[in-house]
């Protein structure tokens, strides 16, 4: 047991920070989101093809580097610091996790290879227009038409959906004799698939809505509501939380810097307890999130090493990390606006970008309230009343 980063892991972080500070500043982000892609494709290619980031946690057999969730979390945390909005989280964080937890098959392994090499990006379509993270929210259906499996319905809140090369779609399995949820892969160019980019409050990362009209040409990766889908989503929560952690740390630093310079009443406002104490509370949230993310990343690696014993702890850690990072990030970003005063409310200043990212990621993969309810069940609050 050594709950501290290795030399190699520190090096990964340093390299990533250096690269991103050069190529992915928030000033650059503001320009990149205005592109039709919503991000800079050359930057994403550099991250994936040159630096090999997309395959960092993928097995070497798929062309990845065979490292783990801790390393991937480091990369996501660093991307969160600059609110990077390209398809890395969607593809390497979420879609890859779902693929890895799906039963091995030729088509799955081919998809993993495409992601590892950076040749393609993928996104998960796992909820409908409510955006909630439960089976009821899934609005896509897997049906059979003329002996062929195809998709009906829609999916929404698909991260970077309009630039993804393929999708992993969660759908109710309505084929004869089937039930539960199925995970289906479909290419972006499939006939009968409409992709609409959505205008969203969060300016840093685009969403798309997918409409399925007898969309065929798909590969069924998992069916019958296999636990693999749930595990994949849990691992995705850890990835998202790592990104949130980086963002909340960055907005804390932004705010500390500002309050350490802004002078009112003849002294920097960061010398007033009203400001200092709120910043201290923000730091408590950041450190709590950090402990949660690093631990949860280790839990993912332990689970992957031994799925038979790690599943319960994974379920707990994934819910916990989503609760802590989502609510923590929102609090910290909200306080950042308050402590900046008027300038914090402007379009020009960066605080609102963090705040809006916090809101968008709060709902993504399940609202904290939903995850707290999951935790309540996991820790035995559903059990029959006991006499004491």
């Amino acid at each position: 047991m050594q709950f501290a980063f290795t030399e190699d892991q520190n090096l990964i972080r340093e390299t990533a920070r250096e690269f991103l500070s050069e190529r992915a500043s928030i000033a650059q982000l503001r320009k990149d989101v205005a592109r039709p892609e919503g991000h800079d494709p050359a930057l994403f290619q550099a991250m994936t093809r040159e630096l090999g980031w997309a395959g960092i946690a993928l097995p070497e057999s798929a062309g990845g580097s065979g490292l783990g969730m801790v390393e991937l979390a480091i990369l996501l945390e660093e991307q969160g610091r600059c609110l990077y909005g390209g398809p890395f989280l969607a593809s390497a964080g979420i879609a890859s996790a779902l693929l890895l937890e799906s039963p091995a098959s030729e088509s799955r392994d081919a998809m993993l290879s495409r992601l590892a090499s950076g040749e393609a990006s993928a996104s998960a379509a796992i909820t409908g227009d409510t955006g909630r993270a439960d089976a009821d929210a899934v609005a896509a259906e897997l049906i059979e038409r003329d002996g062929q499996a195809c998709l009906q319905g829609h999916a929404s809140f698909v991260l970077n959906g309009h630039t993804a090369d393929f999708f992993l779609v969660l759908a109710h399995d309505r084929r004869a004799g089937r039930q539960g949820l199925a995970l289906v892969a479909i290419e972006a160019g499939a006939v009968g698939l409409e992709i609409h980019k959505l205008a969203a409050m969060d300016l840093t990362r685009p969403y798309a809505r997918l409409v399925f009209k007898d969309t065929a040409g798909l590969a069924v990766l998992a069916a019958g509501g296999t636990p693999g889908i749930e595990r994949g989503l849990q691992i995705a929560q850890v990835a998202l939380a790592a990104e949130q952690l980086g963002a909340m740390q960055a907005v804390l630093e932004l705010t500390t810097g500002y309050t350490g310079q802004r002078v009112q009443f003849g002294r920097v406002i960061g010398s007033f307890q009203a400001i200092k104490h709120r910043l201290a509370d923000m730091m408590v949230l950041c450190e709590a999130a950090r402990s949660a993310v690093y631990y949860a990343a280790c839990v993912v690696d332990e689970y992957r090493a031994d799925p038979s014993t790690g599943a319960q702890e994974l379920a707990e850690a994934a819910a916990l990390v989503k609760v802590q990072c989502s609510s923590g990030f929102h609090d910290v970003a909200g306080n950042a606006i308050q402590l900046h005063g008027g300038i914090g409310f402007t379009w020009e200043y960066d605080t609102h970008l963090f705040f809006k990212r916090a809101r968008a990621t709060m709902n993504l993969l399940g609202h904290p309230q939903q995850h707290r309810e999951r935790i309540a069940s996991l820790i035995g609050l559903d059990a029959a009343t006991e006499a004491t």
């Binding site: 047991m1 307890q273 949660a292 802590q324 309810e373 035995g380 609050l381 559903d382 009343t385 004491t388």
Partner: protein
Amino acid sequence: MKIRFTAAEEAFRAECAAWLGEQISGPFADIRGIVSQTFRAEQRMEWERALGRARWSVIGWPEKYGGRDASLAEQVIFAEEYARSGAPGRVGHLGTELAGPTILHFGNDLQRERFLLPIARGEEFWCQGYSEPNAGSDLSNVRTRARLEQGPNGPEWVIEGQKIWTSLAQFADWCFVVCRTEEGSKGPAGISYLLVPMKQKGVTVKPIRQMTGDAEFNETFFDGARTRAEYCVGKPGEGWKVAMGTLAFERGVSTLAQQMTFRNELELLIGAARANGAAKDPLIRQRIAEAWVGLRIMRYSALRMLSRATSGSLGAEALTYKLHWATWRKKLGELAMDVVGAPGELCTGEGYELADLPYLYLFSRADTIYGGTNQIQRNIIAERALGLPKEPRGDR
């Protein structure tokens, strides 16, 4: 970064569990699960001696001082198994967690030889002489003073002054006293860290009754109390550094044991919620889940803190730790009362006897005060971790 324990460490876990289980279900069954610091103190001092005899009292210390040179992982494991066994709160903790590590780290060989083994063996108990009526949050304002005098067996410190909130002073053999040894000095300069015997004519202990009804802490008066000149840890006049070092040990492995107590409290609360139906209330469920999250995170932060301890610097996780747990436990106390409802307002017996959860509710109001109030913690975080300007003083 790894969280898994090795097979050897798991074997060590089995060894701890076996010994603890045997003791707590056997000879020490009467003191199982006691949280209050003073309840059945005599038996618990016997328990400290039993731990010492089996070399379980201070496993992280060097073997020659009664420890086992245990690794961090082993200390984590022991803390977990200690709590799982239902063993009681440690009445020797001021010696094993604060005085001992301070003497080990800042003391000299004479002091280490004299004091460490009796602490490890549960033969001598300690208390902490820090706060005074006019030096609470502003600890460097201490007025208790000591001067060197020639005694019958060589030079001695003679101590005059008053300490307050001295927990467990009524059972203590020794006190580590922060006092002023340079006439006219102010603030951190001129302070010394003295080790003073409690069982002597010049020391008077008066219990203070707390809002819980217990009298766990005391006023301690030093009126010409004496200790040998060489029982000063660090150089005379340079005790502030030592005093702050002691506080850093509060963030050591003992935090894990403390968390286990918290875990037992949360489990008690969950049991109560299931029994009275509160567990069905969606808002209560949210709050219990939140408490569970906060407790888990405490554990992860402690592991981060301990994993870096070798570097000697306090990381951000260490500086934020006290504020996190104190705030958490106060909320837990409130949640406990909301779960229990009105029955929690009734005493379980005469003499202000309270059930565990209502007791927790009251006691947790102290958590955000002792060991540095939440407000002082926020100053520390803002100044040391975030680099913001220091608070101005009104008097210097």
